[in-house]
């Protein structure tokens, strides 16, 4: 074995984060807009914080039984994020004050993951800013299509070998995020369903400083 470098891992995670943020800002009546993406951008201006629980289901051709993970997601403007898995194994990625760190439980203690890659983190931060503003169409990494309550994102060739497409499903009634599904290929995908979404609730900085 050799030293580990996970350039793609933070990207994969942050895609989830970014997509989630992007779909959250699409809440309410974006479907009334003639240009839904413009509606999302308008709504994004009002998001100061949010919190949600999530259930992640990993479906793989190789898996006899889907792999279920649970956790919660916290965002605070302008750019603090905590994406935490509580089961089956506790792990946390935090983006705060321009720094990205990942931690997980080892022998009862939270330890730092060496997989963190500064270059990728920088890209992540730029994307978060862009997506938080609802600017889907400004990311050359994805082409965006809106079909009713679905936002479809197709990645550029750069990551198309890893992710084929991403589907954001918003509730037709409320416009709130219902799920994100990331298709790696025909047989393998990750579906994340959100619940208990709370927007603009009070979130102290310590949420991003204390692991």
């Amino acid at each position: 074995m050799n030293r580990f470098h996970f350039r793609v891992k933070p990207v994969g995670l942050c895609l989830l984060v970014l997509l989630f943020l992007a779909s959250v800002v699409g809440a309410d009546s974006i479907w009334a807009e003639s240009n839904p993406l413009m509606g999302i951008r308008k709504k994004a201006e009002h998001i100061k914080s949010l919190h949600a629980e999530f259930i992640q289901q990993k479906q793989l051709k190789i898996l006899v039984r889907p792999l279920i993970s649970k956790g919660h997601f916290v965002f605070k403007a302008p750019s603090s994020i905590r994406w935490e898995y509580t089961s089956p194994v506790r792990s946390v990625i935090v983006l705060h004050r321009g720094q990205v760190s990942r931690f997980f439980t080892k022998d009862g203690l939270m330890v730092k993951d060496v997989a963190a890659d500064l270059q990728v983190m920088q890209i992540v931060m730029q994307n978060i800013t862009r997506w938080l503003s609802g600017r889907f169409d400004e990311n050359p990494g994805f082409s965006v299509t809106v079909k009713e309550n679905r936002i479809l994102l197709k990645p550029s060739e750069q990551i198309s070998g890893i992710i084929k497409r991403i589907e954001l499903l918003l509730s037709k009634g409320s416009g709130m995020i219902a799920s994100i599904t990331i298709f790696e290929d025909r047989d393998n995908y990750t579906k994340i369903e959100f619940k208990m979404l709370e927007i603009n609730g009070p979130i102290p900085d310590s949420v991003f400083e204390e692991i």
Binding site: M1, H5, L13, I62, S91, K106, I182
Partner: protein, 225 residues
């Protein structure tokens, strides 16, 4: 030098190399069937959280999916991030390695070979000759397998059912150790006779530790846990 001298030197060399292996105490009452206990029969699938600990105290978390077929002597392995991004998928059947998909560092043949050989060590019964069965100094049953390449694998079954594998190189020095532990509380189910924690310790120039915590275990044929 006389032929007798060669013989004496050869015997001394053999003896000195053998002394590095732990002594096995004979016990005729022991059954060889217990030697297979650590290795799954049939076709099983395991999902583990994997903590890789590298020199210098660095750690990384991943998720591993392993499908093992005892009859086919094959393993199918997928490594992904906790978030579900697939980093590596490969198969090993007998000695044939096949990389199905991989990214970045995981694309190297060295990584694939090392990973799949580690998985084979942990989950497949050794394709080697069982030469000795006895007890360790501590009273655990030990089954010693000798490979054609002179390497040795000791399968050690503790009194409480936990087990260990110790692999020795041709120089009789240990280079890999697998420690399996079952839950310490509760009644162990016969159907779920899978250790909840397996630790692989690799020594040598590039030493590392792989700590595997069981997330789910499924019988592939019946799809029942």
């Amino acid at each position: 030098m006389k032929p007798v001298s060669y013989l004496v030197i050869s015997v001394l060399f053999i003896l000195s190399s053998c002394t590095a292996l732990p002594t096995i105490h004979s016990d005729l009452a022991l059954k060889t069937t217990l030697c297979s206990k650590p290795f799954p029969s049939g076709q099983k699938q395991y999902v583990h959280s994997l903590v890789v600990s590298l020199p210098g105290g660095e750690n990384s978390l991943m998720t591993g999916i392993t499908t093992v077929s005892a009859e086919m002597r094959s393993v199918h392995v997928m490594i992904m991030t906790p978030e579900g991004l697939i980093l590596f998928e490969g198969r090993l059947k007998e000695d044939q390695i096949e990389i199905l998909r991989s990214i970045s560092f995981f694309s190297t043949a060295t990584f694939a070979e090392g990973l799949l050989n580690d998985v084979r060590l942990i989950f497949l019964k050794p394709a080697a000759q069982l030469t000795e069965v006895g007890r360790t100094e501590q009273g655990s049953q030990v089954c010693r397998y000798r490979h054609i390449d002179k390497s040795v694998l000791d399968v050690v079954i503790d009194m409480n059912g936990d087990w260990e594998l110790v692999q020795y190189g041709a120089n009789s020095q240990p280079n890999r150790q697998v420690i399996a532990r079952y839950p310490t509380s509760g009644v162990r189910s016969v159907k779920n006779d899978t250790p909840d924690r397996i630790k692989l310790i690799v020594t040598g120039n590039f030493h590392y530790t792989l700590d595997m915590q069981l997330i789910q275990s499924v019988d592939v044929e019946t799809k029942h846990e």
